[in-house]
């Protein structure tokens, strides 16, 4: 019994029909169970990938930061890494495999939500299964699901928010509205573009809303209120993170402008506005090569024309962001189109649409492969899995990381701008003395007094202070302990060897 007085509560006359609501019709346990089931294939693939030693830069980066914060017990040492949410979740148990696990769970949860939506579309179960499978097996999507944890997390949060948002604007379900807003606010801490989606969804409320007669909620004030509820948490999240940056660094927009920031695209950001119009053709070509998305647009035009405009607006968000120089990786762009297509399928489609949609999904897989043929990590990952041969660099890093793990605390001078992969492989930041540490500067100037080892690379990333300083060789009093791939370890002569 839920309440002493309310032994059998009844719905209010003006309450939304529960069968129209998304997600709230199942308990959280039921959702969790299904998420677990849908995650299994992704987890299995993530495990296989991990056994081959494959580690993406994104996963290594977030793992290294988490290891550093866990060891130093101060969050400031991560330099206000943005976005913070992926890092905070990995902080629970920082290991290089955890981001893949989390990504797989996020992917499984997203797949479950897509399946949940497909059940309302009206197609035969066979075609729904084939459609989902056709989308999932696209290598890009599998890569995103297992090897791009921050992007997958953000995408998942936005998909969850979308469902609650629909409950809110179409059915007047207040609880859903606030959940949607909160999730969008949380999603900002996973990816910057969550703010844009929040603002987009807020501005599209008038277009997504049903008539006043069906929701019992009418008038401009009702619309404005829904817009405010949708947008407020994301805006507040931006303001909060900006404030934090200002408090700790003096630069409120550091998270946008820092070279290590994931928000801006360094190639596009500096291009003059007048020269950017040419990109539109590129974006347009990408969109045209999304047969599934275009097919869904056509289906909406046919069955739910009022929704077409807002859906098109949402589809343009990735292009809009890139036009203004923000980072939106191509794999994520294409995955966004795919997910948007699936969740935007109108309800109660005739059964004959099933095979058409599946064919379009297969076509989308093919065009995705064409668009991503030059994508670095995706291609490499595919090759590792297909050939069953780990990358040489992965093997080198793994071996190096395991050896360095045994070093005394804070004995290896390194710069995590380049060495983050090694730190992740070592599964601890304890042996390393890094730029975030107070004594780093002194150690850099006089390493012999402070550290026993120096780790440099022949392929430094960003402004790697250590590799830059010791590019020509070990300092006085140190010798080359060994080399592993592009990495060299210098050893103070009185220190034991780590690599032999």
């Amino acid at each position: 019994m839920a309440s002493a007085a309310i032994s059998k509560p009844v719905p209010r006359p003006a309450s939304p029909p529960s069968d129209g609501l998304h997600l709230v019709d199942l308990s959280w346990r039921a959702h969790l169970l299904r998420v677990a089931l849908f995650s299994l294939p992704f987890l299995a693939l993530a495990l296989v990938t991990y056994r081959y030693g494959f580690l993406t830069n994104a996963h290594a980066h977030v793992t290294a930061k988490a290891l550093l914060a866990a060891d130093r017990l101060r969050l400031e040492v991560i330099g206000f890494l943005y976005p913070p949410l992926p890092f905070l979740l990995v902080l629970v148990f920082p290991r290089p495999w955890l981001p893949s696990v989390l990504a797989s769970i996020a992917a499984g949860a997203t797949a479950w939500l897509v399946w949940y939506d497909l059940e309302r579309v009206g197609l035969a179960r066979l075609w729904r299964m084939l459609l989902l499978a056709a989308v999932v097996v696209i290598p890009l999507n599998v890569f995103l699901a297992t090897q791009a944890y921050p992007d997958m997390l953000a995408l998942h949060l936005i998909v969850v928010a979308w469902h609650y948002y629909i409950n809110f604007v179409r059915h007047g379900h207040t609880f859903s509205g606030f959940v949607a807003g909160l999730i969008l606010g949380l999603a900002f801490y996973a990816n910057f573009y969550a703010l844009v989606y929040a603002l987009a969804l807020a501005s599209l409320v008038p277009l997504f809303r049903r008539s006043e007669a069906s929701t019992g909620q009418g008038g401009e004030w009702a619309t404005l209120s829904q817009m405010l509820v949708t947008a407020f948490p994301a805006l507040w999240a931006v303001a909060s993170w900006t404030y934090i940056n200002w408090v700790f660094t003096g630069n409120p927009m550091m998270y946008l402008t820092d070279p290590a920031a994931a928000v801006i695209d360094p190639e596009r950001w500096g291009v003059p506005l007048a020269e950017r119009w040419g990109w539109l053709a590129e974006f347009g070509r990408e969109l045209i090569m999304q047969p599934l998305l275009l097919g869904v647009f056509a289906a909406n035009l046919w069955r739910a024309p009022r929704r077409l405009v807002p859906l098109v607006v949402l589809a343009f968000v990735p292009s809009l962001l890139r036009f203004f120089g923000f980072a939106y990786p191509l794999p994520l762009v294409l995955a966004t189109y795919t997910v948007l297509a699936l969740i935007a399928l109108p309800e109660r489609l005739p059964r004959w649409v099933g095979p058409v949609i599946v064919a379009l999904a297969l076509g989308q897989g093919a065009t995705t492969a064409v668009l991503l043929q030059h994508a670095g990590e995706v291609r490499q990952w595919q090759q590792v899995l297909v050939n069953g041969i780990p990358r040489a660099s992965d093997q080198d890093e793994r071996e190096l990381g395991q050896r360095l793990r045994a070093a005394p605390p804070y004995s290896i001078l390194a710069d995590d701008r380049s060495a983050y992969r090694i730190i992740a492989r070592a599964e601890t930041a304890r042996p390393f003395l890094l730029p975030a540490d107070a004594s780093f500067g002194a150690a850099l100037a006089e390493p012999a007094r402070s550290v026993g080892y120096i780790l440099v690379t022949q392929e430094p990333l960003g402004r790697d202070l250590v590799s830059e300083r010791f590019a020509d060789g070990p300092p006085d009093g140190s010798v080359v302990d060994g080399q592993q791939g592009s990495w060299k370890l210098y050893r103070r002569i009185d220190q034991p060897s780590l690599l032999h």
Partner: protein, 635 residues
């Protein structure tokens, strides 16, 4: 008829077979068509015809009982004019006299003359003999009103004593008459000494500990509110009682309902009050409205009389005495309440007409341990000015979401100031209200939970007047916060016992809800001042107060906590579709500053005058004259 004309040697036990209605018609005191109307009413309600005739205003009370006296064959007595034997009367318990509707008037030898409003019978004789021994009972007939008057007159001091100190004598630990019990005094003194010594000897560490504690509690407080509010939002679309359930109620199955209306210096509001109470959809003969007027409030009494209230309204004069509080007045009213259920309304209240019936349905559906159901409170003058908008948002959030959430999570529900509906027998068992607690409603809700009873919520609204003046608002709010502090201090006197009886979950919920609010508001100004000072000056003087973990929690509270609370404030406008109010939730941080000011005033008053009832002025709204203002949006 004065008693001295009664001739005991000639008993007049002649009972007429004539019915009261017919008797009244034959005596020209009632029109036949009025009797028809009353009989139709009786078919519906199953109530006594005499009560119906009186309630409908068809017959005066005195006339009715005079005729009843003739029919019953006993003399009529007017207790307002008849000299009363106080010594005889005080051998009896006043509460029993009220419930039994009788009053011992005089003793002559072994004969005791007893006025009664019920048909005299063996039960009356038995009761009188149980107190006085073997005597001869001589019944006289009088009205209930006369009996109540006699009780108030003869037992004035006792009524006052019970109303003011009844709970304290019964259960001193549950009374706020003592602000702090011994161990609390010692603990507070030790705490102050400890903090002072710490600040002298290890100032940094002490300051860090204080900072950590404050921020940790605030963190938990925000989280708690979030969980409760979202639980309430999740069930926004369910209602406890459906219109069909209310319509299914038959008048003949409805019990007697008492409505207490304590008023003080509210002559300007009384006419509206009478009008609002007329709108209650409940059989008049089963409705007992007790207007509780303070003895020294002649103005309100005169205004009440001038408003010509219906017969269902009875004036109960509350004896003058300390503490002069609303709960004391309500305790007086409780003594005279004859209903099976009882509720309280304030002078400016406009309850929805079917609220009493919804309460009845709720009690029927609920479990036996359900002692009270709380209706929602909201404001009819929401759009009067900025303050009323913020106040309405706050109230909507509290009653529409927080109380619903507490109900859903099965946590203790602090009652609102009015529109709490009780089972009278359980209310008496709980000891009524604590007259020393200035939020007697919240206290009673917690006391009920501590004794293992349940409080529920019903989907009915009472419309009130929101404070539209800042000074008046602060007075009211400081009283509420002071009351919350009193409630926490009272109910944590025996923390282990509280946990044993109410459970750890309920105890935790109670402390966070009732204690968390004053705590949050008291810490608001100091913490925001620190932040503001730092923003303006960028000083590092405060860095030592915020080691890493404390810094993270305090940043979370500042940024996420405040954001969440502003966001939750937006919830408030949705259930009642008061969308124009929602953007004002953004101004909550300024509204909270008012709360903070009020909280410091509350603490000061708790120390200097803990029982002082800061009277809120009502009748200031320009919407008072309108029957239903535009701000009361259709639901």
């Amino acid at each position: 008829m004065l008693l001295r004309t009664y001739r005991p040697c000639q008993p007049q036990v002649t009972r007429s077979r004539e019915r009261i209605g017919e008797a009244l018609v034959s005596r020209g005191l009632l029109r036949p068509e009025d009797l028809e109307r009353a009989l139709e009413y009786q078919c519906r309600t199953g109530d006594r015809i005499g009560r119906i005739l009186n309630a409908l205003g068809l017959v005066k009370r005195q006339q009715l009982y005079q005729v009843l006296a003739e029919l019953w064959g006993y003399p009529y007595v007017d207790l307002l004019r008849e000299p009363l034997d106080a010594r005889l009367a005080r051998l009896f318990d006043p509460e029993a006299l009220v419930q039994r509707r009788c009053f011992p008037v005089r003793r002559v030898g072994n004969e005791v003359f007893v006025a009664t409003a019920e048909p005299p019978g063996a039960e009356l004789e038995e009761y009188i003999r149980s107190v006085l021994g073997s005597v001869t009972v001589r019944p006289l007939v009088t009205s209930e009103w006369d009996i109540d008057y006699a009780v108030r007159t003869i037992f004035r001091d006792l009524v006052l004593d019970r109303a003011a100190l009844g709970l304290y004598y019964r259960s001193p630990d549950e009374s706020a008459r003592q602000v702090l019990v011994r161990w609390q005094q010692v603990a507070l003194a030790l705490l102050l000494i400890l903090v002072a010594a710490g600040l002298l000897m290890v100032p940094t560490r002490t300051a860090v500990i204080v900072s950590a504690l404050v921020n940790s509690v605030l963190f938990v407080f925000v989280l708690f509110h979030f969980v409760v509010a979202m639980a309430g939002a999740k069930h926004e679309h369910v209602q406890a009682i459906s219109p069909e359930e209310v319509q299914a109620l038959r008048d003949d199955e409805l019990p007697m309902y008492t409505v207490l209306v304590p008023v003080y210096r509210e002559a300007n509001v009384v006419p509206h009050l009478i009008e609002n109470l007329r709108n209650l959809d409940y059989p008049a003969s089963k409705l007992e409205i007790l207007l509780l007027i303070e003895e020294d409030d002649d103005e309100t009494l005169a205004a009440a009389k001038a408003a010509r209230p219906p017969e269902t309204v009875t004036f109960i004069v509350v004896p003058n005495g300390l503490p002069k509080t609303k709960p004391k007045a309500c305790n007086v009213g409780l003594l005279f309440a004859r209903g099976e259920f009882l509720t309280i309304y304030d002078a400016e209240d406009r309850p929805e007409s079917d609220q009493l019936k919804k309460a009845i349905v709720a009690f029927r559906k609920g479990s036996p341990d359900l002692v009270c159901v709380q209706a929602a409170l909201n404001y009819y003058n929401a759009t009067e000015n900025l303050l009323t908008r913020m106040f309405t948002l706050e109230y909507s959030y509290w009653f529409d979401y927080v109380l619903t959430g507490l109900d859903r999570l099965r946590l203790p529900i602090p009652l609102g100031g009015t529109s709490n509906h009780f089972r009278v027998d359980r209310l008496r068992e709980l000891g009524g209200w604590d007259p020393f607690n200035v939020t007697e409603d919240a206290d009673l809700g917690i006391r009920a939970a501590a004794r293992g009873y349940r409080v529920g919520v019903i989907n009915s609204t009472t419309w009130e007047e929101a404070n539209n003046h800042v000074g008046n608002w602060i007075r009211q709010r400081s009283r509420w916060i002071k009351g919350y502090l009193q409630t926490v201090l009272v109910h944590t006197r025996h923390p282990l016992r509280l946990v044993r009886t109410a459970g750890i979950r309920n105890t935790f919920g109670f402390v966070l809800l009732i204690g968390g609010a004053p705590f949050a508001f008291l810490s608001l100004i100091p913490l925001w001042s620190l932040t503001l000072t730092w923003i303006v000056t960028r000083t590092h003087a405060f860095d030592i107060l915020f080691p890493p973990v404390v810094l993270y929690i305090s940043l979370f509270n500042l940024l996420i906590g405040n954001g969440v609370m502003i966001y939750l404030g937006m919830l408030a406008g949705f259930k009642r579709r008061r969308y124009q109010l929602i953007p004002f939730a953004l101004l909550n941080p300024f509204y909270w500053i008012l709360h903070s000011i009020a909280s410091y005033k509350a603490v000061w008053q708790l120390i200097t005058k803990p029982f002082y009832w800061e009277k809120t002025r009502h009748g200031l709204s320009r919407y008072l004259e309108t029957g239903s203002s535009a701000s009361v949006a259709a639901e």
